[in-house]
Symmetry: C2
Subunit: 267 residues, 2 copies
């Protein structure tokens, strides 16, 4: 069986460290491809170029709007091929113009060893069957048709136009077509929930300036629990900190993005 995410992650070699990709409209928010999808696509190119199997940390700066349904070119420059770590830089261009730049370091999580000490627990939220499907988003946003996404009731208000006054968001997520989560897909899941600012006020658009993800463990199959919170909205700039936990309660990713809230008129 082929899953939608894998189809839309396909990259075709064009030459030395250069790949062609088609930007699927399947991960659009409105008419704009989701940033997490684009980041996962860039990781697809990088994983073909480096010797280590697992992303450990990746940062993407979003430079300009990507057009969905159109081809794109991905170029990878390998900066380091070490014994335990590889680092690469990737750029995505459309029509000759660069739209995003990513820096990523890869390693081998299976080969990692050493001390473990975890002082945090997964957030205590309602089980998936008591969480809220975002029906409006599912009817109107392509990307939401590909997820089974359930919002924790205490923070779901903002997604229905009823901000709760706290910049938090979270719940459960999995692919609707049954694909299991893997490391690369965590880039997508880290950017798939409604933004925390929806629980503060009306806004036009919240373009991401930069998104960084730490990939900490391979997710087990099943639901992912994702939780996002912001603490500092300062003159329209806001960070959003995310945690993703797998079905066995393991922390699998930490994310942080810096975004800018644009007023409703600029949508």
């Amino acid at each position: 069986m082929t899953f939608e995410f894998d189809e839309d992650m396909a990259v075709t070699p064009l030459g030395d460290h250069v790949w062609a990709a088609e930007i699927s409209p399947g991960w659009n928010i409105g008419t704009i491809p989701n940033g997490g999808y684009l980041m996962a696509l860039a990781l697809s190119a990088v994983e073909s170029a480096v010797a280590h199997p697992d992303p450990l940390t990746a940062t993407t700066h979003f430079l300009g709007r990507v057009s969905s349904g159109e081809p794109a070119t991905l170029e990878v420059e390998v900066l380091r091929e070490g014994r335990t770590l590889s680092t690469a830089c990737a750029r995505l261009t459309q029509g000759g113009r660069e739209r995003l730049r990513m820096l990523a370091t890869y390693g081998d999580l299976e080969a990692s060893e050493g001390p473990t000490l975890i002082t945090a627990e997964p957030p205590s939220i309602s089980p998936p069957e008591e969480c809220i499907r975002n029906d409006v988003a599912q009817a109107t946003m392509e990307i939401q048709k590909r997820f089974d996404l359930r919002l924790e009731p205490s923070v779901a208000g903002g997604a229905a136009g009823q901000p709760i006054g706290r910049p938090e968001m979270g719940g459960w997520i999995r692919f609707l077509d049954g694909r299991d989560p893997d490391l690369k897909s965590l880039a997508l899941f880290a950017d798939a929930f409604p933004p925390t600012v929806l629980n503060l006020e009306r806004f036009g658009w919240v373009p991401t300036i930069e998104l960084t993800i730490h990939f900490r463990a391979k997710p087990t199959p099943g639901w992912l629990l994702a939780w996002f919170a912001s603490r500092f909205l300062i003159e329209s700039h806001i960070e959003e900190d995310g945690e993703i936990w797998d079905s066995e309660g393991n922390l699998v990713a930490l994310s942080r993005q810096l975004s800018r809230i644009l007023p409703p008129s600029s949508h």
Copy 2:
């Protein structure tokens, strides 16, 4: 008056978007230049190349050891020159080998406007005069001779070989020679405290894989309050989350790094 930090931030144009720098031994930890200092140096090159004045977010991947007391070359590629944002990529090389790569987006914090909502407060710690000078570090580490750094007593144990069992660290910091903090220096301050893992166990070295800093506001003169905590030490990989607050209680920077603990024998 010339301050040490400014002297050691000097970059000399070598050509189009290429600068020469001397890696000062003044910011060494042992024999190795501090990563925050190197990141600030890379920002010095980028600020000469972009149209906007203030770093907003920057991520550095550390590729190999930098030799102090030796020359280095900084090359900057400008990826975007927009109306409100500029993005650039910088690389630092020594002897023709790349040692770090940075991605940074610049804007204009003075020109930022829009909503502000802050849901966090500075951590409640002892005032500087009740905090603890790290005399051993000041005697043995070049970098610590350039700071007035005071550790909050409740977390200072780890820096004196008496781990408290919680991966936290923090206190007050300012330049010893009286230089006021600015945005660029926050990169240095974000990496200047003893690592949180010192409060967990003995280790050999904690090399930083990647360091990301969000620059959120220009610091006022005086002390900075910095606080660092880790939640997930997983098979030797650990994140360290930092907050830096200025003397008026404004959050000025958020930092996060991913590091790897190496055993004592590998020091």
